[in-house]
């Protein structure tokens, strides 16, 4: 598996990019040239310079430093959201797909209702209900997304349960534990990895959107979406302030999308290994 991963150029490139971004975020205090919150009113809207590599914003804060610190909430929240979603979704999906009967009925009906609301509206509703704050953004995103995962995992479980190799295991009385751990979980996990990496991109966009609207991460904390919100007000005078975070989001989301496609290839057992 590792061999195949290392041979896949896109997979290696995207994973390293994401890791690099994550590391920069983690070690932000050592890497960022300036304090992201320190204002320097005299130097506001400064162009590129040695001191401010990407210039400064409307309050004279270093843009690069804010970008670097912004990785923490942007990427961190997205990853947290996906972890929460997968845990909840996988639990529900496995419960439904495995135990069947009334447990399945109840879970799947709840999923049906959840999926009857467009996700965007649901996020706003939950944020409205719980109030504007960072953890509520995560809760809202997990809340609307888990149903997708629950349904996907249940379908996966059902499919694999009806595959001939599981039927064989059941025929000869292999313990359920073996069927679950050796047959079902690995097959579903690889599907899950692909979906999850595609959805991290989705989560980044979603969280930054909330921050942009002022419903997520609050100023002055640097977050890419929130930075774009600030940039909106000074769009005429200082468009660079809007370009940098936007491109950063596009690059990061693209990386996750590409990573999803690459993982699909890498994790497919039918790809002939050389």
């Amino acid at each position: 598996m590792l061999q195949r991963f290392l041979h896949h150029k896109t997979a290696v490139a995207t994973v390293s990019l994401v890791l690099l971004v994550a590391l920069i975020g983690i070690f932000a205090p050592w890497i960022a040239p300036n304090d992201p919150l320190a204002t320097d009113i005299i130097n506001k809207f400064a162009p590129y310079s040695a001191e401010y590599p990407l210039g400064t914003d409307n309050l004279g804060r270093c843009l690069l430093s804010r970008m670097i610190y912004g990785i923490r909430p942007t990427l961190g929240l997205a990853v947290l959201t996906m972890l929460g979603t997968i845990c909840l979704g996988a639990l529900m999906g496995l419960l439904a797909g495995y135990f069947r009967g009334w447990i399945e009925e109840v879970i799947m009906r709840v999923v049906d209702v959840m999926l009857s609301f467009p996700s965007q509206v649901m996020v706003f509703a939950v944020v409205a209900l719980l109030g504007v704050s960072v953890q509520n953004v995560i809760i809202a995103n997990v809340f609307i997304k888990w149903a997708w995962y629950a349904r996907m995992i249940r379908t996966g479980v059902m499919q694999h349960r009806n595959s001939n190799y599981v039927l064989f295991s059941r025929c000869i009385g292999t313990p359920e534990r073996f069927v679950l751990l050796r047959h079902l979980v690995p097959s579903i996990a690889s599907d899950l990895a692909v979906l999850a990496s595609l959805d991290v991109g989705w989560a980044i966009i979603n969280i930054s959107t909330l921050s942009f609207l002022g419903l997520g991460v609050q100023a002055p904390t640097p977050e890419w979406g929130a930075m774009l919100n600030e940039a909106k007000n000074v769009m005429t005078s200082n468009p660079t302030q809007m370009i940098v975070p936007g491109i950063a989001i596009v690059v990061l989301v693209s990386a996750f999308n590409l990573m999803g496609d690459a993982l699909r290839d890498v994790l497919d057992p039918k790809e002939v290994s050389e």
């Binding site: 009857s116 609301f117 509206v121 649901m122 509703a125 944020v127 942009f212 936007g246 596009v250 693209s254």
Partner: protein
Amino acid sequence: MKQYIIKRLLTAIPLLLCISFVCFVFINLIPSDPAEVALRVRQVPIITDEAIAEVRAELGLDKPYLVRYLTWLVNCLKGDFGISYVNPSRTVAGELLRCLPATLRLAGASFILVILLSLPIGFFCAVYKDSWFDRIMRGIIFITTAMPAYWVGLLLMWSVSIKLDLLPTSGSGSWRHLILPACTVSLSYIATFIRLIRNNMLENMKQDYVLYANVRGLPQKSILVKHILKNSMHTCIVALGMSIPQLISGTIVVENVFAWPGLGTLCISSIFNRDYPVIQTYVLLIGVLFVMFNLLFDILQSLADPRLRKEAA
């Protein structure tokens, strides 16, 4: 067939009830007491316990949950969604109706844009697979799926309105105001649908019936239009139809960027003002629309497909 339609309609009812119940529970989960909120809204200077109890009785909050739900539901069916917390002189229904036309205009324009652009582009991408056109479109699609809608809006506003000074930056009024928001809303949907149509057509091209049409020596144009396109259209039309409520809800963000006076702007300002009845009704509205459109296009699809249509023996 009739029975199938009746059955689908009947199954939609419990789903609609569930949705309405979720919406009802939603407002009751709010940490603040609705009676207290109501008093504050009415700008009662001193909030006493007696006053709260009075309002509770007035709003029917002292009754059991289920009774309250049923009263609420009946009121909803009558078109009475309560009164705005922020502006007691206005009903929720009135507020929504005031903003609805603007949103419908935006969603409608976006929908037309989506259809006009994604159908031909998807078609040509599939027909000329791996040509330069297809490659460029795939590249554009890849980038646009990674772009947040609000950023696209900002970019368009900056380049078209500010730099080129071609169109107004925000607000509504003339059709010129409509162009940028509609483009922004439709952009991500166009990408999705181009991909859908392209993949669907490519999938259909691999089918046996296309090989057999070729074997019979039918002209390429007839195979593409009469057979492949029509078969792919079936799935795509359904997907397009089901995306209408999503388009309507998808305007939230873009409306805020362009200060478009629609439901989305209303929704966000309600969230900031904690005007819960408005949010509740908005969620209910979108949920019901979603179910209705799903149902409608499901039935339409089964009517259009001879395999699903049960012929009278």
